[in-house]
């Protein structure tokens, strides 16, 4: 498959009007792989594909706004959801992209052997119009989430607050989760604004809760579960637990198919419907 990926990239870059191909290359030492932007067909042999290709390359697309030329990009199923959502949000034009689907049977966890946390309960987007694939793009049969995973919905409000405080107390406010997110493409983030300042730099649990609640809510219905925020987090905060709970709420409350899962579906919190059911957890009207 790796050879096929290199061939596809090489052929793509040889065409007129192409800008670059986004893929993965081997990282130095024992650090797995890392993203690479290839502009010269002669460098296509640097591309790799393996269980350690964690990076969601779609996160790099918004930065091409305003440039010219077509962009080739390798995507796993989960990445394709992000890509579809970026196209819907007009962060990149679909016509500019040459999307190469990479069949993924689940990424490796930190030990290199186990299944990555993000891959449990994998959901490939259906009917994604890939321009080329390295093989059949179908949802792999991966185990569901471990039953001992924290489930915010199963907790009482008090337990939920305690879990959040304990978990988020680990946060060092480096902002890496936000900046690593494919969906955080605002030219100026609410947390970067200096006038007014919406958040204090104080190292308190209140500020951490505020930061993470705002971040997660801005992504509710747009988060594709790629867990790149979790990979960027140096403190091991379980952002995935929070993200997944909100994704589930939006899907259940608004009968939503999930971010980037279906073509053309608008994340409910970005839309207005007069007949919204308007329920909310723990306080049905």
């Amino acid at each position: 498959m790796e050879r096929r990926l290199r061939e596809i990239a090489r052929e793509f870059l040889a065409r007129p009007g192409t800008l670059c191909f986004l893929g993965w290359e081997a990282a130095p030492g024992e650090r797995g792989t890392r993203p690479i932007e290839i502009r010269d067909a002669g460098r296509a042999d640097l591309l790799v594909w393996n269980r350690r290709c964690h990076a969601n390359l779609a996160a790099y697309l918004p930065r091409f706004r305003g440039s010219q030329g077509s962009i080739g990009i390798a995507v796993k199923g989960c990445d394709a959801r992000a890509l579809r959502e970026l196209v819907r949000a007009r962060q990149i034009e679909r016509e500019r992209l040459f999307v190469v689907g990479v069949p993924c049977a689940g990424l490796a966890g930190p030990d290199g052997e186990s299944l990555a946390r993000r891959c449990h309960g994998c959901r490939y987007p259906e009917g994604f119009a890939y321009d080329a694939t390295l093989g059949p793009m179908v949802t792999p049969d991966l185990p569901p989430r471990p039953t001992d995973d924290p489930d915010l919905d199963a907790m009482s409000p008090d337990e939920r607050l305690r879990w959040s405080e304990e978990e988020l107390s680990r946060c060092i406010r480096c902002d890496a989760c936000r900046k690593a997110c494919y969906g955080c493409f605002c030219p100026e983030c609410v947390f970067e604004a200096s006038r007014p300042r919406w958040i204090s730099r104080r190292d308190t649990i209140a500020e951490k809760l505020f930061y993470h609640a705002v971040r997660a809510y801005h992504l509710a219905g747009r988060c594709v579960g790629c867990d790149e925020c979790g990979r960027a987090c140096p403190a091991g905060v379980r952002l995935d637990v929070l993200n997944r709970a909100l994704a589930r709420h939006v899907e259940e409350l608004f009968a939503f198919s999930g971010a980037g899962v279906a073509e053309g579906a608008v994340p409910p919190l970005l839309a207005f419907e007069p007949d919204d059911p308007e329920p909310y957890p723990g306080g049905e009207r």
């Binding site: 993203p35 480096c174 890496a176 300042r197 104080r202 140096p234």
Partner: protein, 343 residues
């Protein structure tokens, strides 16, 4: 100064003894698999003296992520300003690794030049550092390439060297000697074998990093470095700066509520988009590649020009934590390559 020995079984006791008169900071692990954090004891979790870099570097005990440097309140026509109070007690840090200790000396050059930063100076003067001899933690470790001795940390007041089921403890300064004295009740004389084991320690920290010999101006070649290529895989997440033991930029913010307020000093970083933005909105480093260049060249070139030494201690955190698997070593390698190309 004769060497003494601390049995692992008496570590908690040693922390308690020091805690009678001092604020004691030590690496604490809260959850298995978590990186240790330097916390004020007693803290929830286990004190782990191991060659594992704390998540947030030692620097944070001297320049915290965010702190009040003064408070102010207005009453009638009068404004009353209260400066940050002095430390209530002297402090001791246990288990600091050589890389983090060496970084303090680098930041000293900035913070202690005239006029010295009073907060940094007070904390430096009133903190004893008991280092842990480090055998090297991971593949990104390269302190030995930049003049740091991981086994005999320069700047430590005393050193703990693993030997048998405990550590050989040797003081290096008067401050360190006072700590060893305070600990006498939990220490014993080491056996010849324990001394031998401690003396025979070796470290896996690499000596062949391109960071070695990087300490000079790079004005001639930096334009030839492919910054755009680095930027292409940089997410701009800033984790490299957040975890760097030598990054020392801060910003000042006033927070006011009604007639009361506080002046905060908080970490800032040139890796952030808004760092160089001016009031007009103009941003000389609006592009990611410009910010990457600034961050790395500040350490490898500008700092070296001004102080004669690079602002990197080879801890490898930037490389190990980067979601794009880049780091300062790679930049040093690209500088060297650009120079070779230059002829």
């Amino acid at each position: 100064m004769t060497a003494r020995y601390l049995d692992r079984a008496r570590l908690a006791e040693a922390c308690a003894v020091l805690g009678r008169n001092l604020d004691v900071f030590a690496p604490v692990q809260r959850r298995p698999g978590d990186p240790p954090r330097l916390e004020l004891l007693p803290a929830a979790g286990n004190v782990t003296l191991a060659p594992r870099k704390p998540l947030v570097p030692l620097k944070a005990l001297f320049l915290p992520d965010c702190e009040e440097i003064m408070t102010f309140r207005r009453r009638g026509g009068e404004t009353v300003v209260t400066e940050r109070p002095a430390l209530a007690r002297d402090r001791v840090v246990l288990g600091a690794l050589a890389c983090d200790v060496a970084a303090l000396a680098l930041v000293d050059r900035v913070m202690l030049q005239d006029p010295p930063d009073p907060t940094w100076r007070e904390r430096r003067e009133r903190t004893a550092i008991i280092s842990l001899a480090c055998a090297g933690e991971d593949e990104t470790c390269c302190c030995a390439s930049v003049g740091v001795d991981p086994l005999r940390p320069n700047g430590a007041d005393a050193v703990l060297s693993p030997a048998g089921d405990g550590w050989l403890l040797e003081s290096a300064t008067e401050k360190g000697e006072r700590i060893v004295d305070a600990l006498q009740e939990v220490l014993r004389a080491p056996s010849a074998a324990e001394i031998g084991t401690a003396r025979a320690l070796t470290s896996s920290s690499r000596k062949d990093s391109p960071l070695a010999g990087c300490d000079r101006a790079w004005a001639e070649v930096w334009e030839r470095v492919p910054w755009q290529g680095l930027a292409a895989r940089c997410l701009g997440c800033g984790v490299c700066a957040a975890l760097c033991p030598t990054c020392h930029c801060f910003e000042i913010q006033d927070e006011r509520r009604g007639n009361d307020g506080a002046r905060l000093r908080a970490w800032d970083t040139c890796a952030a988009k808004q760092y160089a933005r001016m009031a007009s909105g103009e941003n000389p480093r609006a592009k990611l590649e410009a910010r990457i260049r600034q961050r790395f060249l500040h350490k490898l070139s500008y700092f070296a020009e001004r102080y004669g030494v690079i602002a990197c201690v080879g801890c490898g955190r930037c490389a190990a934590q980067c979601p794009g698997a880049t780091g300062i070593e790679e930049v040093a390698r690209l500088l060297a390559l650009a120079e070779a190309d230059h002829g």
